[in-house]
């Protein structure tokens, strides 16, 4: 092999590597915007959901911690003070006239005041809140068992998801599309640790953390745990609701199943 050819090959390799890295960087960026790429990548979510559903029994509990583990500075993320006029009025009134609406595919639509919710079966738990961003905080939550609310409302046979509509607006379009909403499947809805929390760290749930009512779904990430829950709806499919992916963050690309 001649020295010239060797140099040529080296030059070719160097150019090749440079081109490859540019193509990879630019290419992946370009690819990230292609719908077919998103669909292929989404198959990973399907696989993850199937695998986790197979591995996690319906009864498996998220780890519960002790009082000593509580975060001294539990981060309030997302909306921390909704400016929705109806919400502001309720907040000024200490949520005395506020009611949680439960509707959709139920035999008995409900309107529950905070006093009624507090009188229902509750659960208290110290759990870790894992944000999709990567951080974790530990808090103590007390709330109505979601299963108790759903049993009282009596789900119809075809109900498969529970959708939570919230008071806060998180987007910046200035339309109803900004309003936070979330949804979970029935397995999580009836899970022992799934509660509608009205207390945090032994005090009334503060506005920054979702007063008057915040969903806790302890085996998933923080964005599933909707704050400022105003209304719940049992549905058969998420397709017709807003962006169709089952939540505010889901509609802009986050996974509906947030167990990972």
């Amino acid at each position: 092999m001649s020295a010239g050819r060797k140099l040529d090959r080296r030059g070719f390799l160097a150019r090749g590597l440079a081109a490859a890295s540019t193509a990879l960087l630019g290419g992946c960026e370009e690819l990230s915007n292609q719908d077919w790429v998103k669909r292929i990548l989404d198959s990973g979510e399907t696989l993850t959901y199937a695998a986790q559903r197979a591995l996690i029994t319906p009864q498996a509990l998220a780890r519960e911690y002790g009082e000593a583990d509580l975060s001294s500075d539990f981060k309030a993320n997302g909306s921390t003070n909704p400016d929705d006029p109806a919400y502001v009025t309720h907040a000024e009134n200490g949520f005395a006239d506020w009611k949680l609406a439960v509707g959709g595919l139920v035999e008995t639509p409900l309107e529950l005041s905070l006093a009624e919710l507090r009188a229902m079966p509750s659960r208290t738990q110290i759990t870790r809140h894992d944000c999709v961003e990567g951080w974790s905080c530990i808090g103590k939550w007390k709330g109505t068992r979601l299963s108790a609310v759903l049993e009282r409302a009596d789900l119809k046979q075809d109900a498969r998801y529970i959708v939570f509509y919230c008071a806060d607006m998180l987007g910046d379009t200035g339309t109803e599309a900004d309003r936070y909403y979330e949804s979970i499947g029935l397995e999580d809805a009836f899970h022992e640790q799934t509660i509608l929390a009205y207390e945090m760290n032994d005090r009334t749930l503060p506005i920054a953390h979702g007063a008057p009512l915040r969903l806790r779904v302890e085996r998933q990430l923080g964005y599933k745990m909707a704050k400022y829950v105003m209304r719940m709806e049992a549905v058969e499919s998420l397709g017709g609701i807003r962006g169709g992916r089952g939540g505010f963050w889901e509609d802009i690309g986050y996974e509906w199943y947030a167990g990972i």
Binding site: R9, L13, L24, L25, C28, E29, S32, K38, I40, L41, D42, S43, G44, E45, L47, T48, Q52, L55, I56, T57, A60, L61, A62, R63, Y65, D69, S71, D73, K75, R128, D130, C131, V132, E133, G134, W135, S136, C137, I138, E218, R219, Q220, L221, W249, I252, G253, Y254, E255, G259, I260
Partner: protein, 277 residues
């Protein structure tokens, strides 16, 4: 060039099986995507902690900005010591698009712009490829004897670690019969990556999943809490990057074309031992 080789070119042996070659290149691509999408995810909260929860006042590592006479400057704080990393960590960009506060710079993340959701999609999809590819390699390695025959160091190997380190320090690589096998440092490095670091990436990744933590609470105990698992995930990724850097340097120094060819076609030329200076 025939399989037996000729006297002046050295003997050509069949060094890497098809399984090793395929899983090697798949792994190389998959790890690159996992690294870059992982840094995108890290950038959503560029700080690391120990324990179950995040003590925001006391991260063991944090990338951010400090104000220096009215201009923000990128800084990385490790165990309380601030290291100026302006332009790379904490604050980066260019004159055209402007400088922004972010952990790792655009060229290290996938996508380059800030998009946690997309980073997660890339990361978790490629994590599945990583798992399938890794399992294929490990099962084949166990079944075929590759692990025992080619990677497990013999007692004799271990006795020669010192000598091997000295040889490597002089960039003096094995020739002749010795070059037909991995040397002891190679064996230990490959083993450390294949059976320690890469499985550790998977397990610490799973320990960050609230779902998997409910199914396997031991994940939290083994790694000392979710935030420690996240920190180990980061350190282990860094160790793999360092391995790759050393690996690439060694590939170049010990014969770039011969090495590349052997990992593509399987054929590797053995330089005659008598050429040793």
């Amino acid at each position: 060039m025939d399989a037996t080789g000729s006297s002046n070119k050295g003997e050509v042996i069949y060094r890497h099986s098809a399984t090793v070659r395929i899983t090697h290149w798949v792994n190389a691509l998959v790890l690159l995507v996992l690294l870059m999408s992982g840094l995108q995810i890290f950038n959503a909260h560029p700080a690391l902690y120990l324990g179950a929860k995040s003590d925001f006042d006391d991260p063991i590592l944090a990338m951010g900005t400090v104000d220096e006479g009215g201009t923000p400057k990128g800084v990385t704080t490790i165990f309380g010591y601030a290291i100026p990393t302006d332009g790379v960590f904490g604050l980066s960009g260019n004159a055209d698009s402007g400088y922004v506060s972010r952990g790792f710079p655009w060229w290290a993340t996938l996508p380059g712009y800030r998009d946690l959701a997309m980073g997660r999609r890339w990361h978790f999809f490629f994590a599945w490829l990583f798992l399938f590819n890794g399992l294929a390699y490990l099962l084949w390695s166990l079944g075929s004897g590759h692990l025992r025959r080619d990677l497990a160091p013999s007692r004799q190997d271990l006795a020669h670690i010192g000598a091997s380190i000295r040889e490597h320090a002089r960039f003096n690589f094995p020739k002749g019969e010795e070059a037909k096998r991995y040397n002891v440092l190679q064996k230990l490095a490959y083993l450390a990556v294949a059976i320690v670091l890469l499985p550790l990436m998977l397990l610490t990744g799973l320990a960050m999943s609230p779902g998997m933590d409910a199914a396997f609470p031991a994940l939290l105990d083994v790694f000392g809490g979710r935030q420690t698992a996240r920190t180990i995930h980061f350190i282990s990724a860094t160790a793999i990057v360092l391995f790759v850097v050393v690996h690439l340097v060694m590939v170049v120094l010990s014969g770039l074309w011969n090495n590349l060819r052997s990992m593509i076609t399987g054929r590797y030329e053995i330089k005659p031992a008598e050429e040793k200076p």
